[in-house]
Amino acid sequence: MDATIEVAGLRKRFGSTQALDGLTFTVSPGQVTGFVGPNGAGKSTTMRAIVGLDAVDEGTALVGGQPYQSLRHPLSQVGALLDAAALQPSRTGRNHLLWLAHSQGLGARRVDDVIEQAGLATAAGRKAGGYSLGMRQRLGIAAALLGDPPVLMLDEPFNGLDPEGIVWMRGLLRSLAAQGRAVLVSSHLMSELQDSATHLVVIGRGRLVADTSVADLVAAASGDRVALRTSARTEAMGVLAHAGATVAATGPDTVTVSGLDSSSIVVLLGESAVPFSEVSAHRATLEEAYMELTRDTVEFRGSAQPEQSR
C-alpha cells in the first residue's frame, strides 16, 4: 500500500493532563491535510508519537504500515519538521543538513539540492544561531525534504514566515501534494491553511473533532444563505420576512437571507420595487467554518495546557 500515516486510538497522559484521548485518523497521499486545533489540543504530541519520540500509553501510530522505530532509512519515508528552533547555533545551516544526510547515507550533493529547493542558498553557509525564524523554517523544510520522502509532517511551518514566505510555503505544500505525497500540516490558525489544505483533521482536547474535506466543511458552514446589498435595508428585510425567509442585518446596507434562493429574492424585490445593488450566494471562509465547527469546544481554550508543555 502507499506510505501514509495511520493513527489509531492514541492515548497519552502527562501527569494529570490527558494529552491524547483515543485519537484516530489517516492521512491520504496526494493532498495537504491540515491538522488543526487550539493550542494544547495535542497536535505536537501526536506528531512526536508518530515519529516514535514519545511513547503512547495506548494505540498505534504507523507510517507506511510500520511503527516508525522499525523503519529503515526513516528520513526517506517521512520528512518531519517538528521544531524549527532545534539547531546547534554555532553550526551552519549547510552543516546541519550535512550530518543529517550522513546519518541516512546521503551525500553533500543532496544537501545542496534541498538548500536550493528551500530557498536557503544565500544563508546556508551562515551559523544557524543567526537565522530568523523564517529562515529556520526553511532550514527545517530542507531537512524534511532531504530523504525525498513520500510522507511529510510539518508542525506549524507557517510560524514566523513573512507574507512572501507564507505564499511560498502554500505553493510548496500544494506542489508536494501534487507529486502524490501525503502532507500533514499542523496549525492553530485556520487562515494559514486557506488555499493549501484540501482535507482537515480537527482535534480538541486530544480527541477527534472532525475529519473532513475542506470543500464539504465550507459548504456545510455556508448553508443556503444569500448575501444582499441594498440601500433600502428596512424595506428589503420587511418584504423578504413577509415571504417567509429568515433575515439578518449584517451591516448598514447588507443583509443575510436564508430560506429563499437568490432568484426568488430578485423576483420578490423587483415586484416590490425595492432597490438592490448585489445578490450573491454567501460563502463562508475556512476560518468561519472552523469557528462554526469548534463553537462548542471553544470554552476550553482558556484553560488548555500550552502546546509545548514540557
Partner: protein, 501 residues
C-alpha cells in the same frame, strides 16, 4: 484510492551503523567550539605537565644517575662485602651467628646478612644471595627484583646458609645445624662470567618513620646500620684470598661512609654495613616518569566538559529529537556518539601525552634532573594509558550527560567522581587509608596506569598515592574506570530507550 503515492527517484542511502558514526563525526567537527575544546584539552595537558616539571627543582639526592640492574630498572646496590673470586662452579657455606642493629635506630626489618654471588663488585651487576633478615626470616634474592622466602628463623638464632653455583644456576639453601639442608630456591643468572665474586655481605636500608595525620602524612628517617657475625666459612672451588670493601661506597645510595668495617679473628668474621641491595622505588626526592604527565588531570577536566556537552547540547536545543528521528534505534545513536567521542579524544590525548612526556623528559635532562629509568614498554603504557584515561572519561561524561540531560550536573558529577579523588589522594589532602580506598572504588583508580615503578614487598617505603603508588595494578585500575563507563553507558541506553525524547 485513485491517487498513487509518491515514489522517490533517488537511490536510498545506507543508514547502518557506519553512517551513524559518520553523522556524529560530522556533528563534532562542524562545531568550532568543540574542536577548539579538544585542542585546549591537549594544550592544557602539555602546558601543566611542563609547568610541573619546571616548578620541581629537585636536587639529585642519589646522584643524577643511579645504578641500573640487569633488567634495565633502577636499583640500589650498596653493602659491605667480604669476598674472594671464584672461577667456575663451586659453593660457599657460612653460619650467621648474630645480626644486630646499630645503637641509634635498632635493627631494621629489611637489614640483611648472608652470602652473595655477584658478577662483579660494580653496582648494578647480576647477583644471587641468601640471607638472614632483621624481620623477614631467611630469604633468597637475586637480580634486585626477585625475592623468595625461606624459613622464618629469627635474627637472634644462628643459621647456616649455603649458595651453590652450577653454570648459570644458583641454588640457595639453609640449615639449622649445618647437617640437614633445605633448599630455598634456584635462580638463573644470564650472562654470569666464569669468574665471580663470592662472600659475605651485610647491609641495612634507610630507616623510615611515618606519621599519618589529617591533611596528609609525613615521614622522617635516615641511614641505619647492622652488624653480623659469621663463622664456619667454607668455600668449595677455585677461590682466592679474602678482600673486604664496600660496594657502592662513598657516593652510593643510602651508604653511610665509614660505616663498613670487618674484623677477622680466626675463623670468625664480624661485618658492619649500611645500604640495600634492592630495586629503587619512587617516593619523596625521586622523580618517576609518570610525574611527566601531571598535567593529565587538567586536560581531563576539559575532556569531561566536552564529553558531557556532546549530548547535553542536543538536549538543551531540542536537537536530540532531530537526531532520534533520523536514527530511531537509540542504543545505536549512543554507541556511535561514544565511538566518535572516544576516538577523537584518544587521538588528541595521545598526541598531548606523548608530546608532554617527550618535552618534560628533555627539560629534566637539560636541568640535570634524574628520573628512575623504566623499560620502554612501561613508558608506552604510561603514555598510552594516560590517553586512555582521558578518552574513556570523556565517554563516561557522555553517558552521565545522557542520563542527567544537563551539562552542569553531568560535568559536576564526573569531576567529583574522577578528578576530585585523584587530587585529594595525590596531593596528600587525605591520609593514606581513605586515599587508597578512593583510588580503589572511584574511576580515579585509572590513574594507576601512570604508575611506572612497581611496589616491591622486599623494600620498605611509603607506598602511598602521594608518592606515586596506587592501590590497584595499572590495568586493573584502568579497568575500574572502564567498568564505571560501561555501567553508565548501559544505564544511559536503558533511560534513552525508556524516556520520551
Amino acid at each position: 484510492m485513485t491517487i498513487t503515492g509518491y515514489r522517490s527517484p533517488l537511490p536510498v542511502g545506507d543508514d547502518g551503523f557506519p553512517s551513524q558514526v559518520r553523522a556524529e563525526w560530522t556533528k563534532f567537527r562542524t562545531v568550532r567550539g568543540w574542536v577548539v575544546g579538544l585542542l585546549t584539552a591537549a594544550v592544557v595537558t602539555v602546558l601543566v605537565s611542563l609547568l610541573g616539571a619546571t616548578g620541581s627543582g629537585r636536587s639529585c639526592r642519589h646522584g643524577c644517575t643511579g645504578p641500573v640492574g640487569p633488567g634495565g630498572e633502577a636499583v640500589v646496590d650498596a653493602f659491605s662485602f667480604v669476598h674472594q673470586p671464584l672461577t667456575g662452579d663451586g659453593s660457599i657455606t657460612v653460619r650467621v651467628t648474630s645480626l644486630k642493629g646499630g645503637t641509634d635506630t635498632g635493627l631494621e626489618p629489611w637489614a640483611k646478612a648472608g652470602l652473595i654471588v655477584k658478577a662483579s663488585t660494580a653496582q648494578g651487576s647480576a647477583y644471587a644471595a641468601v640471607m638472614l633478615t632483621g624481620g623477614h626470616g631467611v630469604r633468597m634474592q637475586w637480580d634486585y627484583i626477585h625475592d623468595k622466602a625461606g624459613s622464618t628463623s629469627p635474627p637472634a638464632s644462628p643459621r647456616w646458609l649455603r649458595l651453590t653455583r652450577s653454570g648459570a644456576t644458583l641454588t640457595g639453601s639453609e640449615s639449622a645445624d649445618g647437617a640437614h639442608w633445605t633448599a630455598i630456591g634456584t635462580s638463573r643468572l644470564a650472562g654470569l662470567p666464569s669468574t665471580v665474586q663470592v662472600g659475605m655481605f651485610v647491609t641495612s636500608p634507610d630507616h623510615v618513620e611515618t606519621a599519618v595525620h589529617f591533611g596528609g602524612s609525613s615521614s622522617i628517617g635516615g641511614p641505619s646500620s647492622a652488624t653480623a657475625g659469621f663463622d664456619q666459612v667454607g668455600v668449595q672451588g677455585q677461590g682466592g684470598p679474602w678482600t673486604g670493601g664496600l660496594v657502592g661506597g662513598g657516593g652510593g645510595p643510602a651508604a653511610r661512609p665509614g660505616s663498613s668495617s670487618f674484623h677477622q679473628a680466626g675463623g670468625t668474621f664480624t661485618i658492619s654495613g649500611s645500604g640495600d641491595i634492592a630495586p629503587a622505588v619512587g617516593g619523596l626526592g625521586t622523580n618517576t616518569v609518570d610525574r611527566s604527565l601531571v598535567g593529565a588531570f587538567a586536560g581531563l577536566m576539559v575532556m569531561i566538559v566536552l564529553g558531557a556537552m556532546f549530548i547535553t547540547a542536543e538536549y538543551r536545543r531540542g536537537l536530540i529529537r532531530t537526531t532520534l528521528t533520523a536514527s530511531p534505534r537509540r542504543g545505536r545513536v549512543l554507541a556511535a556518539k561514544a565511538l566518535v567521542l572516544g576516538g577523537i579524544a584518544f587521538v588528541a590525548a595521545l598526541a598531548a601525552s606523548a608530546l608532554a612526556f617527550w618535552l618534560v623528559g628533555g627539560l629534566r635532562r637539560s636541568k640535570g634532573d634524574y628520573s628512575l629509568p623504566v623499560s620502554t614498554l612501561t613508558e608506552m603504557r604510561v603514555v598510552v594509558g594516560t590517553a586512555g584515561i582521558l578518552a574513556v572519561t570523556a565517554v563516561l561524561a557522555l553517558a552521565v550527560g545522557s542520563i542527567l540531560r544537563r551539562s552542569a550536573g553531568a560535568v559536576t558529577a564526573v569531576v567529583v567522581l574522577t578528578v576530585l579523588p585523584y587530587i585529594l589522594a595525590v596531593a596528600s589532602v587525605l591520609p593514606a587509608a581513605p586515599a587508597q580506598w578512593l583510588l580503589r572504588v572511584t574511576p580515579a583508580a585509572a590513574f594507576a596506569i601512570q604508575q611506572s615503578i612497581p611496589e616491591y614487598p622486599q623494600v620498605s617505603t611509603l607506598y602511598t598515592p602521594a608518592n606515586g603508588y596506587f592501590p590497584l595494578a595499572p590495568w586493573l585500575g584502568f579497568g575500574v574506570l572502564c567498568a564505571w563507563t560501561a555501567a553508565a553507558l548501559a544505564l544511559a541506553v536503558v533511560l534513552l530507550r525508556r524516556r520520551d525524547a
